[in-house]
Symmetry: C2
Subunit: 210 residues, 2 copies
């Protein structure tokens, strides 16, 4: 268990009720992150949550339902951050920088959840997979909209909007893979660095005259 | 099994001999990618390779030795590509673009191996983990060197060299997570797109006068 589990877990899963269901989600994230989805049993998860397998079954009929709940809440949360940045006032550059900063911070602070959500996507049932992919497309659409707004206004210079959108999302999401809470950069610092780099990618910054 | 397994596997593992050991490595990559390291047994791997568990044992004493072999060969291969780009002639921009192009292509073409290598790092034994982390530091050092050369020559404008190095590597590595051989971009096209984006990140491109 690392810093995420002890400091940000209850806040991250506040939407999951009742409290017993929330405890099971937290336990499942830890177990999936440590051993992988397929090597984890519902018995392992119930044990970590201090509950019996029968008590788990009241809230989640299968291990896959837990994975789906984790993926859904995680994707909804990070999508809401992107939408808030898109809908805030300001120039396209300000909105893109805000979107990147908050999306990166989320993936750093919730890196254990982020890893589970990204790595175990293939273990979702077909209907759940379809739903999660739709949420991912909405996140992609938000970034694409903000980049397109900057292109339309003449603020950005982007030859390949969909490719650049893909790269921006990928850069932010991969923070969950490598982020180390004991490392030298805080989630905020990485967010600031990445916002600057993304503004350069869209041709907004780094064009100082010499 | 996707396109990687059928088209590029034998080439990727050509350094692994004898042929039986190579078959086991290929089988282990597939099994780890499908079910995760912890949910895979040496019996599963031997079965996929059409061998008995006893025959597997001749080549690899443990499942961890297979993971270590996969990680070591994968890291050595991608490091060699980066070093070749660094050591080729040309301007810092040409060398950085070449490094990004070949590193991205590797992660797209070998995305299954890339995922296993990235996701299961924590399952390596302590001494093997230390060795792999040292190879990763060497890859990072190559990118940092090329970026620093561009800063020194005045070609690049990079306020945070180590942060930018981290972002460039992360962007390239994450291609292994999302690359889909049936998708609309080829490994080459992604390599070209990413080389352009990285040149913008270092302040080399996207500064057209208006």
């Amino acid at each position: 268990m690392d810093a995420e589990a002890t400091t940000t877990t209850s806040e991250a899963w506040a939407d999951v009720t009742p409290e017993a269901a929330r405890r099971l989600v937290v336990a499942a994230v830890e177990a999936f992150a440590e051993r992988g989805y397929h090597a984890t049993t519902t018995r392992d998860i119930a044990g970590r949550a201090g509950m019996s397998p029968a008590a788990l079954y009241i809230h989640y009929k299968t291990k896959e339902e837990l994975l789906y709940q984790i993926s859904r809440v995680g994707h909804l949360r990070s999508l809401a951050l992107l939408e808030a940045a898109r809908d805030a006032g300001g120039t396209p550059a300000e909105r893109l920088a805000a979107a990147v900063r908050s999306f990166v911070r989320w993936h750093a602070e919730h890196h254990t959840t982020g890893r589970v959500v990204q790595y175990e996507l293939g273990a979702l049932a077909a209907d759940h997979y379809t739903e999660i992919v739709a949420l991912r497309r909405r996140s992609e659409a938000v970034i694409r909209e903000v980049i397109s707004a900057g292109v339309d206004s003449g603020d950005f210079d982007v030859p390949d909007v969909s490719g650049t959108t893909l790269a921006v999302l990928s850069l932010c999401i991969d923070v969950a893979r490598w982020f180390n809470p004991g490392g030298r950069r805080t989630p905020d610092e990485i967010g600031g660095l990445y916002a600057d780099l993304v503004l350069r990618m869209v041709g907004q910054e780094g064009r100082r005259d010499r």
